[in-house]
Amino acid sequence: MTTAGDTLRTGGAGRSIDPRRRTFWFLSLPAAAALLAFLILPLLFMVALSFRPDLSGQFLAPFSPTLEHYEKVAATGSYWNLLFLSTLIAFGVAAAATLAAYPLAYFLAFRAGRRAGLYLILLLVPFWTSYLLRVMAWRLMLDNSGVVNSVLDALGLIDEPLDLLYNRFAVVVTLIYVWIPFAMLPMLAAMGRIDARLHEAAADLYATPWQQLRRVTIPLSLPGVVAAFFMVFIPTVGEYVTPLLVGGAQGSMYGNIVQAFFIQAANWPLGSALSVIMLGVTLALVFVGLRVVQPRRLLAQ
């Protein structure tokens, strides 16, 4: 943010704003309008809905606000347990996906050379298919008569099929798989900015490859790592499609509870209250996380 002193000029005919500044505002107008219309307003609508007693009456009519939905959530211990569990799952998925994607990003940034673009496209090709189909594919992998169990059985390693599908394990595995390419992108961007001469300098100073990685590459790519982690963590807390498809009776996440009040019951106010709470908790965790990690300071080092 700049202060008014930077931008205001005492121009001639009442033109007081820097034209470049004006262009900037003009150019960002569509994006700002889209954000307002599709993010800010729906969010405000959701918050307003969470204080509404019920859905009866006109949608935009005034209503007397109530805290009953928040009280109901506060009084239901199992919802909080599930929120905690979902946060834990999101943390694990984000950590695993980031960790798994790091070597991929490293390879593309430093080893793939001219073919990097091709490899990148190849990595992203599966993601042109529907998210749902990819999740359904994991059913074929993890099912009792699925690929994994069939292979283990053929190798004589198991007599009874392992219960791989329809539990939290299946949810975690599927989510990690789904997120790996996305987690790779911010790290790839961060590594792309590392000056290749730093590696040469490190080599000149007799740094072993391991030392180069530890002292040069990792510290300089950390902001990308942090970005990747939170890019996975934030949406995963509220995930509901994957647990719905591969979680079964014992793999629900917090998002499924929210979904139930919108899709199975038409209790949007309670669903909204649950969403607002999740949003608050997620934002608080991200805030604390960023305070602890301080990516800006990492970059300065």
Binding site: Y166, V241, L244, A266
Partner: protein, 397 residues
């Protein structure tokens, strides 16, 4: 208890795809270039009410109609009678993948002329002033509908809904794994740990418990609801999975992973015709039955055209398609009677297919409907409390 009326293999994808875009609340792909209702066409013949008794022939009727439907119901198989007669009317579809979602669409001001709720949800539409009374005198096929079905579409003594599709909920089981199922209690039996499958639905769970314990479904007390919650919390680990789309259940049943599950009659037909040794139980507490109905939005400018559409929906060919292709019962009695008439076997895909359908609907058992519990209408409080109970069951795992 309102089933998602889909037995198509792609139902799972459809349910979830729609769930994904549910938040957008946008209209789905429209089957016609003119989306959204219009106040009659510009042509001389429109669906606008006329004082004269002279009926405009179907082919001269123009205009467009928007239908809020379940994903998959937009295909012409579900309205061949209308499509062949009203060639100058364009239909467009909006979608909701659950009753709650459709209700949400309507509450949020959907401009659909016709909507398709299931038993358990009818009262809300009337209470919120969303449904128009049906002028049954204009429905030529109305006398094909049994009185019991007509009564289901009446609220406060007025006909607000036209019954169209119906079916059972009961227990589908593998006869090679479980010799005989005579009670809903099998769904809670620890003896079948890991091989059960309940529908992922709170009201359905309340219904099953009510049948087992003899609770009055329309007057569940707080203590009873606590007991039901405890019961299903203990049941959850016994499931192979909850099913979301019928194909989840059918796949698990065919593979031998699921031995007994809450099921609609379509799943029986699908698994039976796949050669799986299955039976569809007649539990001593009685099966459940549900009915899908069409309503007309109260403020629609296309009321007469909507009536014509619903009339054709009750047509013979439409009903036979519903039975033959999707294993759903039709509200047109002629369609169901035809299943027991050997002379009409060809209309149902041959004698063998006809027999399977008769079996599916339990038509060879004259007492079946007397022992069947029809889904009652719920209040908003009941619906919310039952779904909240179910979320707590899931959250406790």
């Amino acid at each position: 208890m309102q089933p998602r009326p889909m037995t198509l293999p792609r139902a799972a994808v459809l349910v979830c795809a729609t769930a994904l875009v549910a938040a957008c609340a946008g209209s789905g792909p429209s089957a016609a270039p003119t989306a959204g209702p219009t106040t009659g066409g510009p042509g001389p013949a429109t669906a606008a009410p006329t004082a004269e008794a002279t009926e405009i022939p179907p082919e001269q009727v123009t205009g467009s109609l928007t239908i809020l439907e379940w994903p998959g119901y937009e295909v012409e198989d579900f309205y061949p009678d209308f499509a062949t007669k009203y060639t100058n009317v364009s239909l467009s579809f909006e979608f909701g993948a659950s009753d709650a979602e459709q209700y949400g669409h309507m509450k949020a001001g959907s401009q659909a002329d016709v909507f398709h709720p299931y038993t358990g949800w009818l009262q809300f539409y009337v209470d919120e002033g969303l449904a128009a009374e049906i002028d049954t005198s204009k429905l030529k096929n109305w006398d094909k509908v049994p009185d019991a079905f007509k009564a289901i579409g009446q609220i406060d003594g007025k006909q607000y809904f036209v019954p169209w599709d119906w079916g059972f909920s009961s227990i589908l089981y593998r006869t090679d794994k479980i010799p005989n199922v005579d009670s809903w209690a099998v769904l809670l039996d620890p003896a079948y740990d890991g091989h059960l499958s309940m529908w992922d639905d709170g009201p359905a769970a309340v219904t099953v418990s009510s049948y087992i314990h003899g609770y009055d479904e329309t007057a569940i007390t707080a203590e009873q609801l606590e007991a039901i919650k405890a019961e299903w919390t203990a049941q959850a680990p016994l499931n192979h999975t909850y099913w979301v789309a019928p194909s989840d259940l059918e796949t698990g049943m065919n593979a031998g992973d699921i031995w007994a599950g809450y099921a609609w009659q379509g799943s029986f037909a699908v698994t039976k015709s796949a050669g799986t040794p299955v039976a569809y139980a007649n539990p001593k507490e009685g099966r459940n039955s549900w009915v899908g109905l069409y309503g007309i939005r109260r403020d629609t400018p296309n009321y007469d055209l909507a009536l014509r559409f619903l009339d054709e929906k009750l047509g013979l060919l439409t009903g036979q398609n519903l039975v033959n292709l999707y294993y759903y019962g039709s509200a047109n009695q002629d369609v169901m009677n035809g299943l027991s008439d050997p002379a009409q076997a060809d209309a149902y895909g041959g004698a063998e297919a006809q027999a399977l359908l008769r079996d599916t609907f339990g038509l060879d058992d004259p007492t079946i409907l007397q022992n069947t519990n029809f889904t009652p209408n719920l209040t908003a409080e009941q619906r919310d409390a039952w779904t909240a109970m179910w979320t707590e069951v899931k959250a406790a795992q």
